[in-house]
Amino acid sequence: MMLRVGIGINVDMTDDVLSAIDQPATSLRQLLDTTPSVDEVLSVLTSKLKSRFLSLEENVSPIDDYRSKLLYKNEEIVIREGDIVMDEEKKVVRDSKGKIVYRFKETKGIFHDVTNQGFLILRPSCGDELIIASGEIVPRVEHDL
């Protein structure tokens, strides 16, 4: 099996271009005293990516590092376009007709934690804890604006 990982990084974006983007955005030029070259960014990125994959090959779990960097933990969030919902016993959730729920448009709850597989544990205001494998999260306050 092979993987293609596409990564675009804002390195030298002007304020004009950034302000035209439909969400808060920045670039390394705005963040650092000296803007690195694209080649420098590529070299560091390739090294870091290889190092992370090597750790995985060596069976080192990234969970602690991942947890420490996660945003919105213990906050109310909305998950859009999510996939695979499991209940706390890791059984797939079935709808009222007994069909397995693979996809959902939107669901809300407290972002409790991630599982050992990196899946998101969501605590809805009512019902069982859900384990969600993919989707896009938005903080509830941003979503309700």
Binding site: G8, M13, R52, Q117
Partner: protein
């Protein structure tokens, strides 16, 4: 146990909608140069650099090698995209790359960790370049933000079979 593992693996594969399993390979374009990227451990990765492409993701289909890593880069993209196919502004002066990565058996066993891992690698990169670690956060699954602002776009595609 075997049955559990197979079920788990199936769920992981189904659960990555932004990954496609089989895709047509684009013909190799001629206007590019082939160089290498030197890593911090002095090892080398082949780099296929283009002046302009629709997207490095698309062009990378022509550079898959199951034996080793490679990276396709471009000065600019005309149709760069990210999560859910959203367009991504790709003017000159920024970094556009797609890494072609052969996965060994151990990586496949931990396949659910691959999307978060890509985000962590980008977070590592920002820190190494001098961005304050306190400002770097990951919005699950792999959307890395700096002080709450977007700085990158990430897209992953899985290839089960390579047509060379």
């Amino acid at each position: 146990m075997k049955r559990f593992f197979l079920t788990f693996l199936t769920l992981c594969l189904i659960s990555t909608p932004s990954w496609s399993s089989l895709e047509e390979v684009e013909p190799l374009e001629e206007n590019y140069k082939e160089t290498t990227v030197t890593l911090s451990d002095k090892s080398l990765v082949t780099r296929f650099h283009y002046n302009d492409v629709e997207s490095t993701q698309k062009t990378a289909k022509s550079h898959l090698n199951p034996e080793c890593w490679g990276v396709v880069t471009a000065d600019s993209q005309s149709k760069g995209y990210g999560l859910w196919g959203r367009s991504w502004k790709s003017p000159i002066g920024n970094s556009f790359s797609t890494f072609c990565i052969p996965l060994d058996r151990e990586c496949v066993r931990h396949i659910s960790w691959i999307p978060p891992l890509a985000g962590l690698a980008v977070a590592d990169t920002f820190a190494a370049l001098g961005v304050s670690e306190d400002e770097i956060g990951v919005r699950w699954i792999n959307n890395v933000l700096v002080s709450g602002k977007k700085l990158l776009v990430l897209s992953l595609k899985r290839i089960l079979r390579i047509a060379l």
